[in-house]
């Protein structure tokens, strides 16, 4: 309701509805975002940035809150902070038109003219991971996806859509991890699944996971050693965003 009121231009009413809703549901991310957008429309950029930041801390991988936060920070002239947010977004998400707009504004700011292009030009972690895995002689294909099941780079199988592979595999990993922790195990590192079509390895990184298909008849021990070595050389594969770490803890 608050968002509908905002869109219709009834900003005071939108503000009242959003605030009332958040009193009852303070951890509702979409509510925080709506409140931020109402405040932004009212010209309260500082208040808007605070709400976007709260939304981001509630859901560290939420793209919308990060893009809105970056945009508000640019408008406030806080380029270093905006730069940091954009850097985080590019680490976990593919580029989007909204983000490109923020980047364009940031690049045109004097403070960031030199530094930001280097950040943007940086190869995203997921592509580096896919490249490292597919360079292994025993690996036929690899897909990197986020812990929440969003496919990021690579592909596993032409016959099955990557988002289906990523979503189902992430679900199975989360369920398995929960079972294992319930039984006193500390972590789930990886899973090998042998089927009629060959062997798949599913590796749990930090915020990332990878599904890897080995070449037919690849010796299993050797294949697994290769992928483990390749991933060990990429500490960012195991890195978790600090916010996500806190939330999981």
């Amino acid at each position: 309701l608050a968002d509908a009121l905002r869109k219709s231009g009834a900003l005071d009413e939108a503000l009242a509805v959003a605030l009332a809703g958040l009193v009852r549901h303070p951890r509702y991310v979409a509510g925080r975002l709506t409140l931020g957008r109402v405040l932004e429309a009212q010209g309260d950029l500082r208040g808007a940035a605070q709400e976007y930041e709260r939304a981001r801390s509630l859901d560290p991988l939420n793209l919308s809150s990060q893009v809105h936060l970056a945009r508000a920070l640019v408008a406030l002239g806080e380029y270093d902070e905006a730069h940091q947010v954009v850097d985080d977004v590019l680490r976990w998400h593919p580029r989007t038109p909204d983000l490109d707009e923020v980047i364009a504004r940031l690049v045109s700011s004097p403070a960031e003219a030199e530094e930001l292009p280097a950040v943007i030009a940086k190869t995203p972690v997921e592509e580096t991971v896919v490249a490292a895995l597919t360079e292994c002689p025993t690996v036929a294909a690899a897909l990197v996806f986020r812990r929440d099941g969003l496919p990021l780079a690579g592909s596993l199988d032409r016959a099955v859509a990557d988002d289906v592979v990523a979503a189902l595999t992430a679900n199975a990993l989360l369920a398995a991890e929960e079972y294992l922790r319930g039984a006193g195990f500390e972590s789930l590192d990886d899973v090998l699944v042998e089927t009629e079509r060959g062997v798949m390895q599913i590796v749990w990184g930090g915020a990332y996971a990878a599904a890897i298909r080995f070449r037919p008849n690849a010796p299993l021990g050797e294949a697994v050693e290769e992928t483990r070595r390749a991933l060990a050389d990429l500490p960012e594969f195991a890195r978790r965003p600090a916010e996500l770490e806190r939330r999981t803890a």
Partner: protein
């Protein structure tokens, strides 16, 4: 006639394997051979749940029938092979040869599938009776 226990023993002879179980799809222990103290019932429930999770997932991904799932956790390996009566499970130390574990578990699973149904039925009945209070 080879028994379930003998098939288990063939698997647990492999260096690094510390326990083997045959469990039904609902986690009942039909046969076991463990070399160290292992909370057998809890481990059976865990292996059945986790193995079943991946078997279902991979089946939904149209990857064909699953012959083996191996989980690595805390430097231990849990190998789960679907068999006609449920799952064959092996627990091994992290240093075990992965190729050998893969081969031996699949061989043991194939031998289990060749056992007479009467043998499996009697193991299931015994497990059900043990479950009774």
């Amino acid at each position: 006639v080879t028994t379930l226990e003998e098939t288990m023993h063939d698997l647990t002879r492999l260096q690094g394997v510390v326990g083997g179980l045959v469990i039904s799809r609902d986690g009942l222990v039909l046969a076991q051979d463990t070399r160290r103290d292992l909370p057998v019932e809890a481990f059976a429930a865990l292996a059945g749940a986790v193995g079943g999770e991946f078997v279902r997932t991979v089946t939904r991904l149209n990857q064909g029938a699953v012959s083996l799932v191996v989980l690595r956790s805390d430097d231990q390996l849990i190998a789960v092979a679907p068999v006609s009566c449920g799952y064959l499970v092996a627990l091994a130390a992290g240093g075990v040869s992965l190729g050998a574990l893969q081969w031996e578990t699949k061989q043991a699973a194939a031998r289990l599938d060749e056992l007479p149904t009467t043998l499996i039925r009697s193991a299931s009945s015994a497990a059900e009776q043990r479950k009774e209070p």
